[in-house]
């Protein structure tokens, strides 16, 4: 496959910066950022004083390990603008993430911040092999959520044709995809699955459409799901990473090698730590991803604990980018479920379901407590490839799913086959777990 714009587009130049030069750039930016927040943000100054860590202590990149972490609760506690390092008159944009409980978290951008965000999203789309002439259907939600506008600005900077369709109204999405000859789509992987199902019902054969690239993110997904999506739709599915606290989408992206996500290290400094001790892990070992922004003005983040579990991918990438890679994030340290004492991640359930022939990507985990014991039920939607006129075939499928789940999880799981489209559909992020255990 020819990925012509990548190597030639000037915006991608930092992706290939020699390592030593990149480290030097990072250090200078990191020192400036730490000084900026020490001078301007009360919370950072207090924390650093408590730890006796001063901006001038930062002589090499590794010195960052002596600085305090920032966590999501800090953003809530300083709601709405307490972590801003720029006066509001310099802030040109506000976004907020949907807090599942109580107040949302709010982030701000200066004009320069928006420019950098646009730049990393442009480089993101270049890494996905997109360029001028591509028609991009941006089905991330527009609004306070960073996904919509982040992808929009990057796609426009790329010179592609952007369709700002936002999320929802699936039938219209399919009509637009077909009639506008869309070549790339940006949305959550679960929403794309929903689009595929609906397209099949509407008699639209997605593999026959010009669509060739999907930029999927905003929720953890697995490699098995990627294979399923690619086989079912005939497109190349890229994993994009980002989070509102850091900038939104555009923190990291897979290249065509699909062997980990390159972090845009000239703007974001990644660390992998042991989530229990806070200390570093050995190179290549799994741990929690911690990110520090290097060039943000309005709301820099120092050592932000993402709760996302990943690992550095060792060695250089075949694509030639010098940016370090992290393994795709398939789970978060806080989405672990403890069921009868066994640790379970939703991503394990997804892999177990996709391991069974027929591929059942739509699922929901229901947790209840009966007579003091946790019960886990996995509801799986029946899809056309596995539907049958024979009861025995479906019972066989049911047993295979139950077997695969109990093998993977080490836990007996009740499986329930449900009718298509009965599980709560996310237009955005999938709700994988419903916990009805009253503690």
């Amino acid at each position: 496959m020819i990925e012509n714009p990548v190597k030639t587009h000037p915006a991608s130049a930092p992706d290939y910066m020699p390592g030593a030069q990149l480290r030097e750039l990072q250090l200078g930016r990191l020192q400036a950022t730490v000084s900026r927040v020490y001078d301007r943000v009360e919370l950072y100054r207090q924390r650093m004083n408590e730890r006796k860590a001063r901006p001038e202590d930062l002589r090499i990149l590794e010195d960052l390990a002596g600085f305090p972490f920032t966590v999501k609760a800090d953003l809530r506690d300083t709601y709405p603008f307490g972590l801003f390092a720029s006066p509001l008159e310099e802030v040109v944009r506000l976004h907020a993430s949907s807090g599942t409980t109580g107040k949302p978290i709010v982030v701000g951008y200066t004009k320069q911040d928006v420019g950098i965000w646009t730049d990393v999203m442009l480089r993101t789309l270049l890494a996905c092999g997109l360029g001028r002439g591509d028609i991009i259907q941006n089905a991330y939600g527009y609004g306070l959520f960073t996904g919509g506008l982040g992808a929009h600005y990057g796609a426009e900077a790329l010179g592609a044709t952007v369709i700002p369709i936002s999320g929802g109204n699936t039938d219209r999405q399919i009509m637009v995809m077909k009639d506008f000859k869309v070549t790339a789509i940006c949305c959550t992987p679960s929403y794309f699955l929903h689009l595929l199902d609906r397209a099949a019902q509407m008699g639209v054969n997605v593999p026959e459409l010009p669509l060739r690239v999907g930029v999927f993110g905003a929720e953890p997904w697995t490699d098995s799901l990627r294979r399923h999506i690619e086989a079912a739709s005939g497109i190349k599915a890229y994993d994009i990473y980002g989070l509102t606290e850091i900038t939104g989408p555009g923190v990291g992206i897979e290249c065509h090698c699909q062997a980990g996500l390159h972090i845009f290290e000239d703007h974001f400094y990644p660390e992998i730590i042991n989530p229990d001790t806070g200390g570093p892990v050995a190179e290549g070992e799994e741990g929690e991803l911690v990110l520090t922004t290097l060039s943000k003005q309005a709301m820099p983040m120092i050592r932000y604990r993402t709760r996302d579990i990943s690992a550095f991918v060792p060695g250089p990438c075949a694509c030639g980018r010098t940016l370090r890679r992290i393994r795709r994030i398939s789970r978060r340290s806080d989405d672990m479920l403890i069921i009868r004492g066994v640790n379970v991640y939703p991503s394990q359930v997804e892999s177990a379901l996709l391991a069974v022939e027929g591929m059942l990507p739509h699922y929901q985990i229901i947790l209840t407590r009966e007579a003091g014991l946790d019960q886990m039920e996995v509801q799986v939607e029946v899809t056309p490839p596995v539907a049958s006129d024979r009861v025995a075939a479906l019972e066989n499928l049911h047993d295979k799913l139950a077997h695969s789940l109990s093998q993977t999880l080490g836990l007996r799981v009740k499986v329930r086959l449900v009718a298509p489209q009965t599980l709560k559909r996310s237009e955005g992020k999938a709700q994988r777990v419903i916990d009805r255990r009253s503690l």
Binding site: Q201, M202, G203, V382, T383, P384, A387, S388, D389, R390, V391, A392, L394, E395, R416, L417, V418, A419, P420, Q421, T422
Partner: protein
Amino acid sequence: MKIHQLSLFLENKPGQLTEPCRLLAQAGINIRTLTLADTEEFGILRLIVSDWEKGARLLQEAGYVVNVTEVVAVEVPDRPGGLAELLGVFEKTDINIEYMYAFTFGRGDTAVMMFRFNKSDAAIELLQSAGINVVGSAELYSHIEK
């Protein structure tokens, strides 16, 4: 000689049958016969309808998972031993009857039954060489229209 049967996956809970029947009714599609196979959790509704292609499309668009299967309609003598004799044809063959159900009409001294074989073509050949009438779709529907 084969008949197209539609199968729908339904959850086993009240009211699940109504919606597909209503959808077909609104489109003027007649249900010729049906059978419901059920387990504790789910059911499979099998339907023979007057226009299977239109029926399948309609149900799919409404979000149902619809399977189209070929089944065989066989005339069975309506007298003691009629079915037993017919089934005897398959003795010592590897043809398996996955399931069967009765059709809603017969003529004179015969009934019509729907069979789902694991090997439809082989089964039809055997039945015909045993002199048993396998009812084609045209014949089946012309019966119905009368």
